[in-house]
Amino acid sequence: MASAFWCIVEDDRAGRPKKVTGEVLGEAARLARQLGGQAEAVWLTDKATDEGLKQLAEWGAARVWLLENPALAPYRGEVWTPALAELATQHGVQAIFGAVTARQRELLARLAARIGVGLSADSVAFSLQDGKLVATRPVYAGKLLSKVTWSKPPWLATLRPNVFRLEDPKTGATPQVERPAVAIPQGTMTLAERKEEASTGLPELAEADIVVSGGRGMKGPENFAILEELAKVVGAAVGASRAAVDAGWRPHRFQIGQTGRTISPKLYLGFGISGAIQHLAGMRTSKIIVAVNKDPEAPIFKVADFGIVGDLFEVAPLLTQEFKRLLEK
């Protein structure tokens, strides 16, 4: 199908697509419309659910390509890539989009190598110029933006979570499900163990709408409890600066910045973070930035929408109370 934009489904490993897939479908649909095409979902899973398929249709997938096979779980690039490549080659698609997640960032890279096309990883914006896709992606950890285009389709890209809008839901839409016959290789790597991280009860850093983050000013690991308290009230994830991670106060998976995660939440609140260039790189695309720091000269105030110059150990608990009061209303 000409001008089909395929979107790889990211699911919760239990048959339900994640919200980021809605964002990817939303952007794909907007772009495809301009070319007279449509957005379609491609779901590789060991087990899909009916409500999952329905969800994809509501998010705007005009069609769902469903590859359902036990060998597809857990994700293994060596298994998914050939299957997806075969399907894509059969159908001559215009673009294949994925989300920036652990599996899809690897999958799309492998797929690009296999079919010999370009990949724009970690894209934050798209436009069509003379019928050709141009992607914008942060480089140098977000210190600059790079505009890239493809020498030929399909255009492969991964999209950063929390950046793209969902389409208005097509409530009640029924999915048009295709179950193509594609060879699924068995793969050579085998899952030995899956160690779940101790759940903080808070959202995942990359997907959270609100992120609360602490730096050197936290003075010690025990004080992050103050931020977790605040995070619980507003449903935020808790992140940390490199200084706090390198000091051993937080595990690396919570690091925001050049050698950690890049995040774009709706609201970012930084406490005791000076705003080293490496950290700013990881959060400056947040929609609203709030900074609390004792030092009025801290560079983070230069990117902050709102700043409070003060002691975080005083300000953070007050903020927790104030949010609590607001949300109880």
Partner: protein, 259 residues
Amino acid sequence: MKILVPVKQVPDTATQVKIGADPKGIDTAGITWIVSPYDEYALEEALRIKEKQGQGEVVAVTVGPERAKEALRSCLAMGADRALHLSDPAWENADSLTVARALAAVIKQEAPPLVLFGRQAIDDDMGAMPAQVADLLGWPCASWIMEETISEDGKSVRAGRQVEGALEIFTIPLPCVLSAQKGLNEPRYPTLKGIMGAKKKEIKDVKAADLGLAADGAQLLVVALEALPPRPPGRIIPGEPAEAVKELVRSLREDAKAI
């Protein structure tokens, strides 16, 4: 066991990068170049495997201009045994896929059972290289690993890859590709002895023709680099903490509609 570690020379993380006269690239004047930090985790892990096994060879490889030799020299100083410098006009301004093809070709020649990458180079932040090379070689790959152990018989590796909310530990037959995440280890400093010994180690120049590669065009083209759009000026909320916090929450709610 022979382990190949591809590295990339990148600007130091503290660099204030500026767009160059040709807006497709950066202004490289005055930049301090370093080995991309994730690649140091990969190299450290390779050195530890070699030390644990009491034998083997660690080969650093890079694709880059003449100055990239410094990065290889750093790897040799850290303990790599030799280095390969892939340098050819064909690879100037190459996209990921072109570089991946070059690396895959040199890996085929070297035939190591293990290739250890850093999860991404911190310049273009594409993070595609390990997976692309794995696919071109037809090898399995585990990305963003936090731990690894080579099996006693040297035929497989147990590697834990970081995914959202979990660590997935796989048994992977060799040869395979792994990419290192921060936290895998703490890279060593080179020693002075290592630095002094590095010049005695071999850095072999490799051209595209040596790998039987023709110059094929880039698949992903950079149109231009752009500065970030400036953020609107912010507001410092004055007053006593209690008042300031009240005003902040009101602003977030009513003005910014962020909550």
